[in-house]
Amino acid sequence: MTEPTRDARTTPRWLRLPALVLCGLLASYFAVAYTFALEKDIPAWLKDHPWSLWLGTWPMFTYIDPSSTVVYAEARVDGEWQDIDLEALFPYRWESGPRYARTSVRRNRGRMQALGAAACGRLEKQEGITAERIRFRSERIAKTKGKNPQPKRKLKVERLLDWPCDGKARRPTGEVW
């Protein structure tokens, strides 16, 4: 009886050491990323290159988060302030929320200015509303278990930006538009 053919292959010998080195580097990268994932006291090299470990860091849902923040906007049209629907102007959203609500936008004046200019432009283009100014605020509330919608408990309002619609924002390229 002939033995059935076995189709088995593995890494050739000359490639085994590079393969092990690759796996070792991958494991080391993740280990370093874990070591500094939530540390405030980080070494100088990491302060100089704060993004270097980002691809290997997954600190999601680690800390307790008893409050939530939502961003709202108003436009001044003919001297009157009126609420505007940011979700209609910027409809795409991720499971983490819309782009404009990200902390990295709220906490960065340049990005907020770009958002202000874009909101003015989209209001005019999409809804035919010519606004004079637009202003953004964030509302931070304490979460209440078992409630939907959430009551505005311990509300803290923060003004984010008051933007004139004839103002100029900068693109990353430095171009003003």
Partner: protein, 301 residues
Amino acid sequence: MAESSLSDRVFAPHWAGGWALARVLFALALLSAHLPRAAGIGDVFGAQDLLFTMGPLTLNNYIILSEGSAWGLWIAGLVGLGGLLFGGRLAKPGLAVWLLTTAVLLVNETLNIKAYDRLTLWLCLAFFLSPMGERSLQNKWRSPVARWMVLITFIALYGSTGWLKALKEPTWWTNGDVLAYHMLHPYFGMKPIGVWASTQKWLLLPLCWATVIFEAAFPVLVWWRRVNPWLLLVGALMHLGIRIFMYVGPFSYVALAAYPVLLHPEVARELWTRRLGPWLAARGVRIQAAASSVDRPASAQ
């Protein structure tokens, strides 16, 4: 030679059937992330009025995508995913096309490169080294290196999140508040079942413990053949639970797509030869007969 025999034992080929299923699941998971991005073209991808840079993501300093070019990239990515789904020689080029085009779109958007995008990147590296481009993998044994990379990635993913929870946030152990509040996140949360569960301490506390114990123990237990399938079952239930209680996008799908590879190859092969293969054959699915247990190669060729 003792040295070469050790090397041969370490690099002994593993049953490769898991890669065939993982490829299909991975393609479907990437599709579930890719298709909804079409709704963002013009609003975020290829938008001319909201361009950002952040850290090393500086593409917008050099190239400003138009809406048309964003559509072109999205369609090319979709075609690439078609190749990955079709398999064979199209699998790896398809994945490469999807990866490159999607990377440009994500870097153009800049601010929302998610945890599942980063996990996808690492898994892509493993898939490129895997035998996923071959047909009839249920009858083949291949190098374990790609599986090691998946293992290292998941050990890092689960291990780091589990140990950070265990060491940095005591409420994972003391009450269910940490989970309750995540279920009340204005975007990730607020599912009716999550809002209800946020008041059910009897449910939250065991879920907290199970999550932390599973994640923290994964790096050790995944290697133990007898425990491996049960550990992965717990992981699958955890991802299913996250999907039930929260909106987490394609994260669960991307993670679960790698599970056929995380399953111990011999356990997977037994499952295939004794259960899944005969079950499919009985339903008229034409599959080349899987090799029996006696055919298993003793060492590398």
